[in-house]
Symmetry: C2
Subunit: 412 residues, 2 copies
């Protein structure tokens, strides 16, 4: 029944190196790494040079290898590797959230065509087994909402700014020195990484593939001490939340900073921890927490995928049978805070304003906006603006549900 | 590939009735309930009498039925049903923690002998997919610890006593009136239910079956207002924790009240919610939260098992390959609080005392005890004594690790 897993490994960085160790220490798995393909010819490596090659075809054309484990950063190179592996009849385990979010539909179809397995648990929230649970455990339960903290780097930064009153710039520098933020932190701090993961989660939660480009991602790059202080004074922490919700036949989804109160699921999720909260019709509220980054936590997710391949496991995408009619929508209202060192103009189109503050050095407004109107401002590039949502879910309104919109407008 | 699941259902109470509804509403599952066996002939039921029988053989001898779902309270009757079903070549899904904890080894062997599946996710923490994850996801990761809140009734009582200063008796009465505590609450409040679940978790975490009778269970029946107040003043909540830990080749495990601080995983788990925290070598700390009781949350776990049977899923018990050499041990030290309306005698053998308080109406001592010495006092039957552990894990000491014991003793 068990198939011996013969691995061709792409990448020997933090996760690849971790996988090598984890695989050697785990006695229960019938798997071995045959060869490792790496890019840099000069880098010092912890194991003997005989394990390595610099030619991807040494792995892809090796008929002994039945499984490609792809752990590289470059999504374009990964696309070539993964699609070629499918065509060669090899199973693929990947941790590449960007690759998967950008090409999920095509990759599913191609892997099915070639009757190989394509698993990617490590791509989303690292050690948290969220994809497997969505596929296997919540596959008959109607899910209405999924949200979480899906990026460890930004959560570390937000935790430190809140707890120790340090500036964003100071903590980012620390994180870079410690090696868990990139030199160019754009993917993390502007919410792209969180968005790729959210997109993957949406597919497995609702059975719907939303174009990555449709999803608004607002990050934490422009957070100021005043924004953190505003939250702290009110018992709120700022967390970068990836969220998606099904309302009728619509899916709404976005990544943005949120002020969360003490009783919110994300409030105590600190530093490099990630979390996912699911709302299910029958199972009700479910919550998962685990490390969202790091060599071993990520490698352990890769290992679990490799282990599942022993039994020819593949995702079933069962929810696609019912999720096909869902449509992405940005037509709803949300309550936001916008802070700035400058007096706020009418650029942000509030439909009502609940609070407005102007001081000598800082200004903010809190109120309701039409979500679709936010796309006209490029928040990630606007050093003068920090926007944060609030976590109260009930305030979402479906524009097409005319009666509710009228009720909202009447209340304004 | 998919097998049509034809179900014979035993029990139509809270969970059985929930399953019936959930199964009818879930469009994605190729399963139907053929017949339902119930005990009481007089009870009014929500669906037509033609669905029911009072003869268990009508289900067990029905060759159309390939799956028995056992959702009754009586562990002895369940034993007969489940073992007969195995012999008849039928798969079994059960939520009966007592049955499973008492007979796990035999039930595994018998189900293997007859080549049928035996699944019981709903037996442990209801909606939390903990067994499936231990089996499928953490099957190659070395686990060192599992602990959690495994009983919704006691957690509800503890939540209410802490939050509203109500007495144990008052909240128990409320819970009974609301229908989620039994008329005889012994199984819940004395920690038996939590112990059965812990025993099942130990098997899937460490690959070791510990005799249920070995595991000490101390419940919350004798909690006094003064105990709750002691905690509240120090920022601690009392939670009934099921815990098991692997130290070298020993497994230590017990169920008991614990004072937990604000940063403890269980602190914010309130009312009927359950939680499980796992410590893994590679995945590191993992945490799951979900409803531990209730019709739909429990039924959804049963449904997930039924769904898995479509693909002939069965637990693999892979950790039994490595867990066989583990031994149960009660030879360690723990820090406890013991409160009483009476002045404490030397009955509890403290090896040292850190705090001692005597007031006009209440007395307590805090200090270290040899865990094995606690068995000489029947805490559940001692109205005058309330014992609670502390959550600091590092204080556990392995008696056989002589150097550490010596160090501890030297420090006393």
């Amino acid at each position: 029944m068990e198939t011996k897993i013969k691995i061709g490994l792409f990448g020997f960085g933090c996760v690849g190196g971790g996988l090598y160790e984890v695989l050697n220490q785990s006695k229960l798995l019938n798997a071995e790494i045959v060869k490792i393909c790496v890019k840099s010819k000069d880098k010092e490596r912890s194991i003997d040079a005989s394990h390595f090659t610099f030619e991807k075809d040494d792995l892809l054309n090796n008929s002994e290898i039945n499984t490609i484990v792809e752990l590289i950063d470059d999504a374009d190179a990964a696309y070539e590797i993964v699609t070629t592996a499918f065509r060669k009849g090899k199973n693929v385990v990947s941790a590449n959230k960007k690759l998967i979010a950008l090409h999920l539909e095509e990759l599913i179809q191609l892997s099915r065509k070639h009757q190989v397995s394509f698993l990617y648990e490590a791509s989303t929230c690292a050690s948290i087994p969220v994809i497997r649970n969505l596929e296997e455990y919540y596959n008959n339960d109607s899910l209405s909402k999924i949200e979480g903290i899906c990026n460890g780097t930004t959560n570390y930064i937000l935790t430190q700014t809140h707890a120790f009153g340090k500036s964003y710039e100071e903590v980012l520098k620390e994180a870079q020195d410690l090696g868990f933020a990139e030199t160019d932190p754009t993917m993390d701090v502007d919410g792209f990484d969180s968005k790729f993961k959210l997109d993957i989660l949406i597919a497995h939660t609702f059975g719907k593939i939303v174009e990555v480009g449709e999803i608004l991602n607002i990050g934490i790059r422009n957070i100021k001490e005043e924004d953190v202080n505003f939250g702290r004074e009110k018992g709120l922490k700022i967390k970068l939340i990836s969220r998606a919700e099904k309302i009728g036949d619509k899916v709404i989804c976005f990544v943005a900073p949120h002020f969360v109160p003490e009783d919110h699921f994300a409030y105590n999720v600190e530093n490099e921890y990630n979390c996912v909260a699911i709302q299910a019709l029958f199972s009700d509220k479910q919550f998962f927490l685990g490390k969202g980054a790091g060599s071993y936590p990520t490698a352990s997710a890769v290992l679990s995928d490799i282990s599942a391949l022993q039994f020819d496991y593949n995702y079933e995408y069962k929810k696609f049978k019912t999720g096909g009619d869902l449509e992405y929508s940005n037509e709803f209202y949300a309550k936001v805070y916008v802070g700035s060192p400058y007096k706020l103009t009418d650029e942000i189109e509030f439909v009502n304003i609940e609070e407005s503050y102007s001081g000598l050095e800082y200004h903010y407004k809190i109120g309701w906006v039409k979500f679709s109107s936010l796309a006209s401002v490029d928040f990630n590039k606007r050093e003068d603006l920090f926007i944060s949502f609030f976590s109260e879910d009930v305030k979402f309104e479906k524009t097409k549900d005319e009666s509710r919109v009228e009720a909202l407008e009447a209340a304004l």
